[in-house]
C-alpha cells in the first residue's frame, strides 16, 4: 500500500488523521492515563454510577435474604426480567468480540482504534449478564453446582440440557474475552511502564506488562497467538448467542421453538452491541479529544453495520410472523395474534418502531456522519433490543397452551433496581477503565501510520 491509501481511501474520512507520528500517538493516548487530571465531570459520573452499583448490591443482598419472591417472576412467567436482561447484556458484549476478532481476520484495520474499549465493554457487559442467571437460580449461593465437580451427593450436571451448555458457553466466552483483552494490553502496559513518572504506577504497570520489551521474536509469537485467538474467538462469539437462543429454541413453547432463533439472535446481538459501542465512543472521543483516532469513518462504518444487522433482525421478525401462519399450528398463530393484540401489544409496536422503522434513517449519509444523531439512534436501538427480549421472554410465556394457565407479568421495584444497577455497574467500570488503562490500542495505532511501512530499497 502506498501512503495515500493507507491513510485515506477515496473520499471517505481517514481512519487516522494525517500528521501523526509514533511519538504523538503514544503521548496523546498515554497522557490520558498518566498525566491528565480527573475532571469534576468524571468524578460526578463515577460517583453516580458507583451509587447505582451500590443499589445493585443492595437489591442483590436483599434477594439473598428474602429469595426471588421479591421479583415479579411467577408461574407462568418464571423467567421475567432476569433472562431479558441476561440476553440483552450478553448481546451487547458481542460487538466487542466482533470488532476485535472478526474484523481483525477480515483485515479491517479501522478496527484498531476502537477494539480496546469495545473489548472492555464486552467484559463488563458479560459480567453484568452473568449476574442475572445466578441470582435467578433461587439459591444463588449454590451456583457452583452448575459445574461438574466430584461431590458427596454423587450428582453430575445433565449435559443434554441447553442450560448447562449455556454455563459452558458463557464462562468460556468470558475467559477468552479476558485473555484476548489482556494480551492486547501487554505492549501498551509496557509503554505506560516506560512513560510513567510515578514510582508506584511504574511498578504496577511493570508487573502487569510482565517485562515486555518488544523483541522481534516476542512480537512474532505474539502476533501468531493473537491471530489464532481471533480465529478461535470468531466461532466462539457466534456459538455463544446461538447457545443462548437454544435456551429458548430447544423448548416447545410457542414462539421459542423455531430454527430462525440462532442467526436472528446473533444478528440482534451485534446490532445492539454496535449501538452500545457508538453510545460509548461518541462521548469518549469528544471528552478526551480523540477525534483524530476515532474518526467519522469509524462512526459511519459502525452505523453501516447496524443498518445491515438491523435488516437481518427485521427478516427474523418477518419470518416469525410468516411461520405463525405457515406452520398451521393454532398455538403459533395465537402467539402472533397475542403479540399484536394482547396486553403487551404496545411493546410489540414499540419494538418494530425502535428496531426496524426508525433505524432506517441510517440510510441517510448525513445522519450517519452526525455524532449527535448516531448517539440517539443508538439509544433507540438499545431500547428496541431490550423490548425484543422482553417480547420473546414474557409474551411467549404468559399465554402458551392452556387458557387456564394464562397470566400476567409485572416487574417489581427490585427488578428495576437490579436492572438499573447493572447499567450503573457497567458504566462505573467504564469510567474506571478510561482512567487507568489506555482506551485505544497504542501499538496497533502505530502500525496504521504511514511511517510504519518498511520501504524496499
Amino acid at each position: 500500500m502506498d501512503e495515500e491509501t493507507r491513510v485515506t481511501v477515496g473520499s471517505r474520512a481517514p481512519v487516522i488523521e494525517p500528521g501523526h507520528t509514533f511519538a504523538t500517538v503514544t503521548d496523546k493516548i498515554s497522557s490520558i492515563v498518566l498525566t491528565r487530571p480527573a475532571s469534576n465531570a468524571w468524578f460526578l459520573g463515577f460517583g453516580v454510577t458507583f451509587l447505582l452499583t451500590m443499589m445493585l448490591l443492595y437489591a442483590a443482598g436483599y434477594l439473598f435474604i428474602r429469595g426471588i419472591g421479591i421479583w415479579g417472576v411467577t408461574i407462568p412467567v418464571a423467567w421475567g426480567f432476569a433472562i431479558v436482561n441476561f440476553v440483552w447484556w450478553i448481546g451487547i458484549g458481542h460487538a466487542g468480540t466482533l470488532i476485535s476478532a472478526i474484523l481483525l481476520l477480515l483485515r479491517q484495520s479501522w478496527r484498531n482504534s476502537i477494539n480496546r474499549f469495545a473489548e472492555a465493554m464486552t467484559l463488563f457487559a458479560v459480567a453484568c449478564a452473568g449476574i442475572f442467571p445466578v441470582l435467578h437460580l433461587g439459591r444463588p449461593w449454590l451456583a457452583y453446582w452448575l459445574f461438574p465437580y466430584p461431590n458427596t451427593m454423587q450428582y453430575w450436571p445433565q449435559f443434554r440440557s441447553p442450560l448447562v451448555w449455556d454455563v459452558f458457553a458463557v464462562s468460556t466466552y468470558f475467559t477468552i474475552s479476558l485473555l484476548f483483552w489482556f494480551i492486547g494490553l501487554i505492549p501498551d502496559l509496557a509503554t505506560l511502564r516506560d512513560r510513567s513518572e510515578n514510582r508506584w504506577t511504574r511498578m504496577i504497570y511493570g508487573l502487569l506488562a510482565m517485562g515486555w520489551r518488544g523483541s522481534a521474536r516476542h512480537w512474532h509469537r505474539y502476533e501468531t497467538a493473537y491471530l489464532l485467538l481471533a480465529g478461535l474467538a470468531t466461532p466462539l462469539v457466534l456459538s455463544v448467542h446461538t447457545v443462548v437462543s437454544f435456551d429458548f429454541a430447544i423448548s416447545i413453547v410457542p414462539g421459542w421453538h423455531t430454527t430462525i432463533f440462532p442467526p436472528y439472535f446473533v444478528a440482534g446481538a451485534i446490532y445492539s452491541g454496535f449501538a452500545m459501542v457508538l453510545m460509548l465512543a461518541i462521548p469518549i472521543r469528544k471528552v478526551y479529544g480523540l477525534e483524530d483516532f476515532i474518526t467519522q469513518r469509524h462512526l459511519e462504518n459502525s452505523a453501516k453495520v447496524m443498518l445491515a444487522t438491523g435488516l437481518i433482525v427485521a427478516y427474523g421478525y418477518i419470518v416469525e410472523m410468516f411461520m405463525g401462519w405457515y406452520s398451521g399450528s393454532r398455538y403459533d398463530a395465537f402467539l402472533i395474534w397475542n403479540r399484536m393484540h394482547g396486553p403487551y401489544s404496545v411493546f410489540y409496536y414499540c419494538l418494530w418502531a425502535c428496531n426496524i422503522f426508525f433505524p432506517q434513517v441510517l440510510w441517510i449519509r448525513k445522519l450517519r456522519n452526525s455524532p449527535v444523531a448516531l448517539f440517539f439512534i443508538s439509544l433507540v436501538i438499545l431500547v428496541g433490543m431490550w423490548l425484543e427480549r422482553f417480547i420473546i421472554v414474557v409474551v411467549s410465556l404468559h399465554r402458551d397452551y392452556l387458557t387456564s394457565s394464562f397470566g400476567m407479568y409485572y416487574p417489581t421495584r427490585w427488578d428495576w433496581m437490579t436492572f438499573i444497577g447493572t447499567i450503573g455497574m457497567f458504566l462505573c467500570a467504564m469510567f474506571l477503565f478510561v482512567r487507568i488503562l489506555p482506551m485505544i490500542s497504542i501499538f496497533e495505532i502505530r502500525t496504521l501510520l504511514p511511517q510504519a511501512e518498511v520501504k524496499a530499497e
Binding site: 509514533f22 453430575w156 451448555w165 505492549p187 523483541s215 509469537r221 502476533e223 502500525t447
Partner: protein, 178 residues
Amino acid sequence: MKRDPIYGLMAEFDNPTALVEAARETLNAGYKKIDAYSPFPIEELPEAIGFQKNGVPLVVLVGGILGGLTGYLMQYWISAIAYPVNVGGRPLNSWPAFIVVTFEMTILFAGVAAVFGMLALNGLPMPYHPVFNVPRFAFASKDRFFLIVFSSDAKYERTETRRFLEHLHPRSLSEVPS
C-alpha cells in the same frame, strides 16, 4: 562461571526501514545471536534477524485437541457411566447433545494454550532484563528501534563489533551491562 560484564552492544535507529536493513546486514555479516526491539510488530523483522521457528501454532493445536477430548470424554463418562439418566429411552451416549460443550472446551483449552504458550515461549513474565539497563531503551516502547548483538555470539569482539555497528549509522550506540 563468571558472567561477561557486557551483555551486548545495542544500536538505536529512527525508523523501521533502517532497523530491518541494519538487522539484515548484521545477519549477513555473520552475527548469529542478535535481536531487535520495536514499539510495534514489523512483518519483515523476524526473518531479518534469522528467526523462523515459531512454536505457538503447535501449542494451540495440542491445547485444542486436549480440550475437545476432555470435553467429550467428560460428558461421556458423566452421562453414560457415572450418572446415567434415562430420558425417554434415548441413548446414554447421546452425542449430538454433547457437541456444544465439546466445542466450547476445545476453544477454551486452545485459547488458554495460545496465551500462556505464547508467554512461556517468550520467557515472560521476566521483570528484569539487561536491556532495561540502557536508559534510552525506554523509547523502545515509544518511537525508537533497537538492534542488539549479544556478547555470547561467537563473532562478537568488543571493538570490532562496535566498529561494524557504527558503519550502519545508528542514532546512538550503547554497551548493555549485564
